[in-house]
C-alpha cells in the first residue's frame, strides 16, 4: 500500500509529477518569503509615502508609478507593499489564537469524551452552522469596524474548524493498537495523550493551517472591502480593492492589491499541498 502510494506520487511519470510539484513548491516558498521580507523591511526602502501624496491623481502605470496612483495621488505599488504589514500579521494573529484554542478544545473533546466532548462540539456546531463569511460580518459589524475586531471575528469563525479536525484526529489515533499497548504498559492518561496520541495528530493540523493563511487573508480583506476591517487611509489590500472599485475606470488601483491577495492565497495552498506530501507517509492512518 505504501509502496503503491509512493509510486503514484513520484514515479509513474517521474518527470512530470516531480517537476510540477517542486515548481509549485519553489514558487510558493518564493512568494511567501518575499512577502515576509517585504513586510519586515519596507520602511527602509519604501519608494513613496504609503499614505501621502506621491504624484498626480489617478495616474495609470508609468515608469514613476509602476502600478499607477489612486484617487488621492498615492502610489499604489507602495501601498500594496505596505499592505503586507496588515495582512500577514492578521493571518498570524488569527491562526495563532484560533489554532491553539481549537486544538486544545478538540483534543479535550476527543480524548476525554462525555460532557466535555458534548459541550465543545455543540458550541463548534453552532458556530459552524452559519456561513463563515456571514458570521464574520455579523460579529465584525456588532463589534464595530477596525482591524482588531476583524481579527476577533475571524478567530471566532476559525477555532471550531480546528477543534473538529483535532477531535477527529485524536479519536482516530486513540483507536490504534499502539495506544492500547501503552495502556497495557501502564502509562497514565497524560502520557498516553502527549506521547502516544498527540505526536500523530499534527500533520493535518499543520497542512490545514498553512492552507488557511491564504483564506484568512482573503476573508480579512473581504471584511475590509465592505468597510468592516481596516479603515482608510490604511493601505490594507481589501480596503484598496474597495477604493479601486469606487474608481471603476482606473483599473490599476485594484490590480496590485488584488494580485497580492491572489498570490498569497495560492502560495499558501501550494505550500500546504507540498507539506501534505512531505509529511511522513508512514504514519498515514488507516481509514
Amino acid at each position: 500500500m505504501t509502496v503503491a502510494a509512493s509510486l503514484k506520487s513520484k514515479s509513474i511519470w517521474p518527470g512530470i509529477t516531480l517537476r510540477w510539484s517542486s515548481a509549485t513548491l519553489i514558487f510558493a516558498l518564493f512568494v511567501i518569503i518575499s512577502f515576509i521580507v517585504i513586510a519586515v523591511t519596507i520602511p527602509l526602502w519604501s519608494p513613496y509615502d504609503p499614505v501621502g501624496m506621491a504624484g498626480r491623481r489617478l495616474q495609470p502605470p508609468s515608469a514613476l508609478h509602476w502600478c499607477g496612483t489612486d484617487a488621492l495621488g498615492r502610489d499604489v505599488l507602495t501601498r500594496a507593499l505596505w499592505g503586507t504589514r496588515y495582512s500577514l500579521p492578521i493571518a498570524v494573529f488569527v491562526l495563532g489564537v484560533a489554532v491553539p484554542v481549537g486544538v486544545l478544545l478538540g483534543t479535550a473533546a476527543g480524548f476525554f469524551g462525555g460532557i466535555i466532548d458534548n459541550a465543545v462540539m455543540r458550541l463548534a456546531d453552532v458556530t459552524l452552522a452559519f456561513p463563515p463569511v456571514l458570521l464574520a460580518m455579523a460579529i465584525a459589524a456588532s463589534l464595530g469596524p477596525g482591524l482588531v475586531n476583524t481579527a476577533v471575528a475571524l478567530i471566532i469563525v476559525w477555532w471550531p474548524i480546528y477543534a473538529r479536525l483535532m477531535r477527529a484526529q485524536v479519536l482516530n489515533v486513540k483507536k490504534l493498537d499502539h495506544v492500547d499497548a501503552a495502556v497495557i504498559a501502564g502509562a497514565g492518561r497524560f502520557r498516553i495523550l502527549f506521547k502516544h496520541i498527540m505526536p500523530l495528530c499534527w500533520s493535518p493540523i499543520l497542512v490545514n493551517t498553512t492552507m488557511d493563511v491564504g483564506l484568512v487573508i482573503l476573508l480579512a480583506s473581504g471584511l475590509s472591502f465592505i468597510g468592516l476591517g481596516a479603515q482608510p487611509p490604511a493601505p490594507e489590500w481589501g480596503q484598496m480593492v474597495a477604493e479601486g472599485a469606487s474608481n471603476f475606470y482606473s483599473w490599476w488601483i485594484a490590480l496590485a492589491p488584488g494580485m497580492a491577495i491572489f498570490l498569497i492565497s495560492i502560495s499558501s495552498n501550494f505550500l500546504g499541498d507540498a507539506l501534505r506530501d512531505v509529511l511522513d507517509p508512514q504514519v498515514k492512518l488507516p481509514a
Binding site: 503503491a4 509510486l7 514515479s11 509513474i12
Partner: protein, 340 residues
Amino acid sequence: MKIGDMTAIPEPLLEVRDLRIAIPGRQGEHLAVANIGFTVASGEILGLVGESGSGKSLSMLAVMGLLPAGMRASGSIRFKGQEILGLPERQMRRLRGGRIAMIFQDPMTALNPVLTLGAQIVETIELHNPSLSSRELRNRAIELMELVAIPAPDKRFDQYPHEFSGGMRQRIVIAIAVANDPDLLIADEPTTALDVTIQAQIVDILNRLRREKGVAIALITHDLGLVAGLADRIAILYAGRIAECGEIGAVFQRPRHPYTAGLLAAVPSIDADVARLYAIRGTPPSLADRPPGCQFNPRCPFALPRCAEYNPEFRRFGETVVACHRAEELNLASDTADAR
C-alpha cells in the same frame, strides 16, 4: 532451457514464459518478477505459492494486462496460442471479464457499496452480452448466485453488500468473475480473509467450477493446505522466480528445492506432533538489493560456493522442474528433518 518448454502440456490454455516485471524506483528500475514461467491447461488448477512479496499478484496482474502504470513487463504471455503481453488495451478489455476473469485479493473492497448485488452481477453480464433483455439478465444472475450457493437468490438479488457476510460477499465476487463463462479464472488469495468453515464452501465452489464448467484456475495463495486440496500442479515462487514447479503430489512428497522443503516443514500439521517447527532462517532479499547467484543462497542450509556465483538453470525431474544446483543429490525430505 526455458521453464515453459518443459512443463508444456500440448496446447496449454495459458502459457507464461520468461516473465520479467520491472518496477521504477528512485535508484533506477528493479525486477519484482525475474523469470517466471508456467502453463495452465483447461480444467486444471495451478497453485501459485510463495512468501508475501514474491511476485504472485504482480505476475497475475500482468496476465490481466492490469499492471500499475510505470511497470514494464517483458517475456511472453500466450493465451490460447495468442500473445497477449503488450496487446492494446481495447483488445485486452475484451478478454478481461470475458475469457479471463480475476478474483482480487481483498473481497471487501471489490464490490460497490451503493449498488445492489444483483445489479453488479447484471452489469458484468451485460458488458459482454449487450443483447440480453433485462428479464434474461436477471435470470442469468440468479443462476449464478445459485451456482455459488447463495441461499434464496431471488430475494437476495436486491440486497446491498453490507447486508452480506464476508463469505457471502466473496461468493458474489466469484459469481461476478464467472458471469461470462471465462476459460481462465485467476483467484488471488480467494479465502485468506475467510474462516475455515466458510473457506470450505469456497473450495467446494471452485472445485465445481472446474469440474462442471472446465474452467482453468490459477490459484494464488500462501496456504499450502488450500493448494494441497485443490490444485493439480503447483508453482513455488521465491523472490520473483520460480523455484520449483510440478505435479502436486510429486512436489509435496519429494520436494526438490530447499525452499519448497523448508516451506513444507514450516507448517504445523493438524494430526502430527513435532517439538519444533522448521524455520527458514533469514528474510527474503530486498528487490533493490538482490544477492548474486541463486536468490535463496543466503538462507539455504545446503548452499555451496557455486550457489552464490551462478543462478541455477531450470532442470526437469520427472513431473517437476526445479531451479537448484543440488536438486539431484539432495534428499530433502530427510535432510530438512536433520537440519531441524
